[in-house]
Each structure stands twice: as C-alpha cells, then as structure tokens.
Amino acid sequence: MDIYVCTICGYEYDPAKGDPDSGIKPGTKFEDLPDDWACPVCGASKDAFEKQ
C-alpha cells in the first residue's frame, strides 16, 4: 500500500497506520479515504496529496 504526502505541509498518510483521530482505521488505502477527508495537520483536501 502506497504512502501519500501532503504537498502543503509534508504530512505522510501511511495506510498501515490510518488516521485514527479522524476515524480512519489502520489498513485503509489512500484511495479508499472518504472524499471529505482532510489532512490532519493542515486541513488540505485529498487532491493536495501526491504518491511518495
């Protein structure tokens, strides 16, 4: 599973860890994140992310 990086603040979304603070379970692929998911560090939307 690919890691995605926020182009605004540099946060790395690691599917192995998920984003539990936003209710995203470990093992969730970036592609499967809901459309309204936002970067937990800077609030950028999904389209601001690039594959590492």
Partner: protein
Amino acid sequence: MQATKIIDGFHLVGAIDWNSRDFHGYTLSPMGTTYNAYLVEDEKTTLFDTVKAEYKGELLCGIASVIDPKKIDYLVIQHLELDHAGALPALIEACQPEKIFTSSLGQKAMESHFHYKDWPVQVVKHGETLSLGKRTVTFYETRMLHWPDSMVSWFADEKVLISNDIFGQNIAASERFSDQIPIHTMERAMREYYANIVNPYAPQTLKAIETLVAAGVAPEYICPDHGVIFRGADQCAFAVQKYVEFAEQKPTNKVVIFYDTMWHSTEKMARVLAECFREEGCTVKLMWCKACHHSQIMSEISDAGAVVVGCPTHNNGILPYVAGTLQYIKGLRPQNKIGGAFGSFGWSGESTKVLAEWLTGMGFDMPATPVKVKNVPTHADYEQLKAMAQAIAKALKARL
C-alpha cells in the same frame, strides 16, 4: 504600555519591540516589530491573542489601563506561535478566564506547546459565531496562513477584522494606524513580511480572501498582530488588494541577479549582466550574497520576473552563501519566474550545472544556456553574457 482605543470598546494592547532586527531568526525586520493583542469590552470581556512571553508585563499594564485583567472572561487564541501565545500561561494565571477559544488545530498546537492539564479550552469551528453580549464575533479558519492553526475573528456589525498574522508588517512606530504611515513604507513592510513568511501559501491566501469576501467580510478596520492597524475602508481595501497581488506573483520586467565571488570573476560577469539587462529595458537589482541578507534578496525576488544566479565552482559545487540563499528561496516557493545561471571556474566547472538544477527544481523556466568562464572573463565571454541577457529579456517580455 497604555492601550490605544480603536473604536468604542475595542483597544489595541500589546508591546512594541523597537529592537527586533532578526525576526524569528530568519528574516530581517529593519524597522522593528510589534506584538499586538486586542481587548474587546462587553458582557464577556475578551482578549484576542497575547504577546511574546518577555512582554507579558507590558501586555498586562496595557489591559490594566482599560480594565482590571481579572475581569477578562474569554481569551481567543488565533495562532500558537510564541510571539503571540508566549504570554498565554501568564495571562491565564492573571485573568483566570472562563473560557479559551481556539481552532481545532489550535487546540492540538496548544497541547504540544504548553502541555496543560486543566485549561478551559473550547474549540470553535470555521464560521461559528460567539456572542460577547452586545457584540457578536464570527471565527474563520485560515489554515496555513501561515500555520495550520491560524484563524481570524470578524465583528460584522463593527466591521472589525482581527486578522492575526495576515496583513502583518514589521513596523515599530509610535503611530498605530496605517493612515499615519507613508503608503510606500506600508507597501514595502507588507511585501517583506508576505514574501518571507506567507509566500509558500499563496494558493491558500487567494482561497482565504475569496472565502472571507464571500462571507461578507468587508472591514473598516483590519487589526493584525504585527505592525499598525488599517483604518478606514480604503486602507483595508488597499491591504487586501496588495495581498492578492503578492499571492498572484504576476511577472514584471524586473530581474534580480544575486551572486557570490572569490577572485572577482563572477562579480565581473554579474556587473556585465546587469548592464546588459539594463540595455534590454529591464529593471535590475544586483545583490551580492555577502552584502545582502537572504530575506532582502527574497523580498526583491517577490516582484521580479527573472532570477539570475552567479557562483564560481568551489570544491565541485557552489559556495555556501549562494547555497543557503537558494535553499531559503526554494522553501518560499516563488512562482512564475524565469531563471538563469553563470559563474567562473578554475578546473572542473560544476557550479552552473548545480545552479541550473536548483532553479529548474523550483519550477523556473531556463530559456538560455548557463554561461561559464574559465578563470577570468574576456570580451568574448561578455558577448555570451549579453546573448543570455537578451534571451532571458525576450522570454520575460513575452510573459508581460
């Protein structure tokens, strides 16, 4: 320091830092700066932001010139950077506030800065309103302007925008309003602040302004946390228009040449290039990295159309002042620039290649082959520099 009344019930409190020259350790503040906090008297008297920790006494004195600090009910913390939140623990102790309002990302930043246990923190959402009694304030998140936690506070009835670092300027002055400062001084200070602090977030700047305008934010007072207050609708419109201009970064016919040199060869090339660009009708700024701080170079680049960098080859690479300046500029993500590279060398000559990699890595277009010269330049080399200047000036004019 005595409070300064803005309008009935609104007071500027905080501190003037007359001696600040190296703002946050990376950008020059030649005119000093201020740390502004704002006191709003109402049924729930509220303080917006604080100051750098060492100025907590001056902040409390300013508050006490209006009201007993213990009568403050609410604190609003718009940004956790320590020039604004540094005095927060002291203020909480002095005021014993009923509530502390901040954004969701502000709460996270507050926890990791102050490791508090029992502060009465309450998160406010984007667009949420809060009644202070007679007055109502609306909060808007302005994420990445210039930290994730950043937010602003809008009093729609009074048309007062407390804008945190947005529209800030590093100006220490006894005058506290923009209409008391020459407009070119305002513009320069705004540009220096924006270019060196906010520029990486130009898309967010344009989006935030669009969001605020759509929400009906049309201020008659813009109260930033650094510098002077914009007073009057015209002054506020000027501030907003400047921010749009800074963020759009449209090309101009200005060329910034910055360089370092060992035995004056690269310096000679730089001076020749400056003359060539002048002949092409460009405005030129020639800046030696050892005479000009990297933040001064960035301020000049912010309204330039082209950036031409010179450096001799040193140990198969480039000199440290040039490398440091390039690293600094890259982080600030300037847009819509044309690049150029030149330099002298003794035997291996890698510097122009390294410079070109830096510039293309920043997304700059490179219309001319870099010019490199062995040891000392000749008139034939100057012809090459002239051709490079002509190619860059032509590409620049095509963009205007």
